[in-house]
């Protein structure tokens, strides 16, 4: 029983990280119909910035995380300006290829600049908390709490600010018929900034437990894609739901089925879902 609770908490931790990455991916997809392949690599760069802020400049964990968020917001906007904005009118497979290019570029740059070593963001909150017989590190609780706070913040931003509700409207209604007079460029840049901040926050939170390395974005981006396909591409609640479903499935699957194949689970789920429903679980539109 304790094991079950333990693994559930681990699943929630994992789900929280996925969620922050998948939310950004789904927002960008919703606004621009770009499957941002490089999103996992923004997460990676975010992890590195936090790591270096702490180890090179001796900054506080939270200060480092905030700096990382700012740096990533700038990087995200740059990515939008330099790669995706010029590709606006290209065929969708070309956008995909451009995103793959951005991904290769970021990963290779990280390798050249920082080497291929695995690094770990210094853990400050590594005390163990015992709750109802279950032992948890503080960091895991911080990850879950951090993700929840950011999700609430995102919710408030979207529901209670002008620009936020514009983003949501654009994400949900791509026809744009009712959206005359919106500065599409501004919305696109802002979306990339917000999504990148979420990715960097995910990396800062995950860094002390999971490791920081150039390839860390590859697997998570593919899982984030699985999540947004499950949740419906462009859907925000779908991304949240999908993240936790995947986090829990992986964590429990690893314990009760096979830890060796735990990474296969996500992709197997996706293949299964698309086999039964070719247009995703929560496809929008009747056509």
């Amino acid at each position: 029983m304790n094991l079950l609770i333990q693994q559930t908490v681990n699943g929630l931790t994992l789900g929280s990280i996925y969620c922050l990455v998948a939310l950004g991916l789904t927002l960008i997809y919703g606004i621009m119909e770009v499957p941002n392949f490089a999103h996992g690599h923004l997460y990676m760069v975010g992890g590195y910035v936090t790591f270096f802020m702490m180890t090179l400049y001796g900054l506080n964990y939270w200060v480092s995380a905030i700096i990382s968020g700012i740096v990533l917001a700038v990087l995200g906007v740059l990515l939008e300006r330099l790669v995706f904005n010029p590709m606006r009118n290209s065929p969708s497979s070309n956008k995909f290829i451009a995103a793959v290019g951005a991904m290769m570029f970021l990963e290779a740059s990280a390798r050249v600049l920082w080497g291929s070593d695995f690094r770990s963001i210094p853990a400050i909150y590594d005390n163990v908390v015992v709750m109802g017989g279950v032992r948890l590190t503080e960091q895991r609780l911080i990850i879950i709490a951090g993700a929840v706070i950011l999700m609430v913040a995102l919710y408030v931003f979207i529901k209670h600010t002008m620009i936020g509700s514009t983003i949501e409207a654009m994400a949900q209604n791509r026809d744009g018929a009712s959206l005359v007079g919106i500065d599409v460029n501004r919305v696109a840049m802002l979306t990339f900034a917000v999504a990148s901040i979420l990715a960097s926050a995910a990396a800062s939170l995950a860094g002390p437990i999971f490791l920081v390395y150039p390839g860390m974005g590859s697997l998570i981006i593919m899982k984030a894609f699985v999540i947004i396909v499950i949740g419906g591409m462009g859907s925000i609640p779908g991304a949240v739901l999908g993240s936790f479903i995947l986090g829990l499935t992986e964590s429990l699957g690893a314990t009760y089925l096979s830890s060796n194949y735990k990474d296969v689970v996500a992709f197997a789920i996706l293949v299964l879902i698309l086999s039964i429903k070719p247009s995703g679980l929560f496809a929008k539109g009747a056509r």
Partner: protein, 345 residues
């Protein structure tokens, strides 16, 4: 008519020169290292031809190709290593298994559209990669397969020397190019292109889109499987890396550099990209940094790649020359020309 004959003659001469260069290469290659690089380049080129059929002609971005390459390599490697089968049995088996798996994948994936298809095939690639990596008992996991036998000799012809292996790979490459150019110029290839152009219109005209997609996907996988098997027999050591989606991205890059939906593109792109990597020392480290940026620049500014750009240049020059000729004509037959124009309108 005469023009057409001139054209096909020029083509024949070009093919002839290329074949002579390809056959003579082992003798004119300045060192054995280049021979190794080119042989490997040829193997990748075969896989890129497969990708070209799917991406360039059919217009479906499949990201499962490295998975198929790895599948071909492992099937062939395992059959010859564990069951001691001849290379000449393991290679076709690899091609057949890869094709069957691809058809199964295609049957499901082609029911999805657009981005879903891309993500679906990517996931298939990842699954194949993970299974190869995790199925320790069969595949040796991350350690890989070591000591795969060389291609079995046929009578007096053995494949021990570098040269003989080069010729073996060249033979398969030529075969691939031959098949691909026959497909491209036939009604079958044009059917693929029409699906690329407008799936809806193709279906309205009575073309069975699903069947054609499966056909292209299967053929592509067949050649990708062969490339994998050749890789296993040539390098003789394979690890899970060869099925990693990163390889798919590289193959895609080779294709885009050379020019998609062209017959020369895959070979040109692969040779140039691998050649550059090997010949420029600094490229070793910065390779993917450069390639990543290059990929973006190519899709944005040169979606036709090198061959596409060359063809555009050629038609431009031809047009200019035609214009020059015409203006001369117009001077002499000015009246006649104008009358004809009026008649047509």
């Amino acid at each position: 008519m005469l023009d057409g004959m001139k054209k096909s003659n020029a083509k024949l001469i070009a093919y002839g020169v290329l074949s002579v260069v390809a056959i003579a290469f082992p003798f004119i290659s300045p060192n054995r290292y280049y021979l190794t690089v080119v042989t490997l380049g040829f193997i990748y080129a075969i896989a890129v031809y497969g990708l070209n059929l799917i991406v360039g002609y059919l217009g479906q971005l499949s990201l499962a190709q490295a998975g198929f390459f790895g599948l071909g390599a492992y099937v062939s490697g395992l059959l010859s290593l564990k069951l001691h089968l001849s290379f000449w049995i393991s290679l076709p088996m690899a091609a057949v298994v890869t094709t069957l798996v691809a058809l199964l994948v295609g049957l499901i994936s082609f029911r999805t559209r657009g981005h879903y298809f891309v993500i679906f095939t990517l996931c298939i690639g990842v699954i194949i990669n993970l299974v190869i990596e995790k199925w320790d008992d069969l595949t040796g996991g991350v350690r890989g397969l070591i000591g795969i036998p060389r291609p079995t000799s046929i009578g007096p012809i053995d494949f021990i020397s570098l040269e003989s292996q080069y010729y073996l790979v060249l033979l398969f490459l030529s075969l691939t190019i031959f098949v691909m150019s026959r497909i491209a110029s036939s009604l079958v290839g044009r059917t693929f292109k029409s699906i690329h152009n407008s799936e809806e219109l193709a279906a309205t005209l009575g073309i069975n889109v699903m069947r054609n997609k499966l056909l292209a996907f299967g053929i592509a996988a067949f050649f990708t499987g062969i490339a994998g098997a050749l890789f296993a027999g040539y390098i003789r050591f394979i690890g899970p890396d060869i099925s990693n989606p990163h390889l798919t991205f590289e193959l895609l890059l080779f294709l885009l550099i050379g020019g998609q939906a062209t017959i020369a593109g895959p070979l040109v792109g692969t040779l140039i990209a691998t050649g550059l990597t090997e010949s420029l020392q600094f490229m070793q480290e910065y390779r993917m940094v450069v390639f990543g940026a290059l990929l973006i620049i190519i899709v944005k500014f040169f979606p036709g790649g090198l061959v596409g750009a060359a063809m555009k240049l050629k038609t431009k020059i031809e047009k200019r020359m035609n214009k020059a000729n015409k203006s001369e004509d117009a001077l002499s037959k000015g009246e006649n020309h104008a009358a004809k124009n009026r008649g047509f309108n």
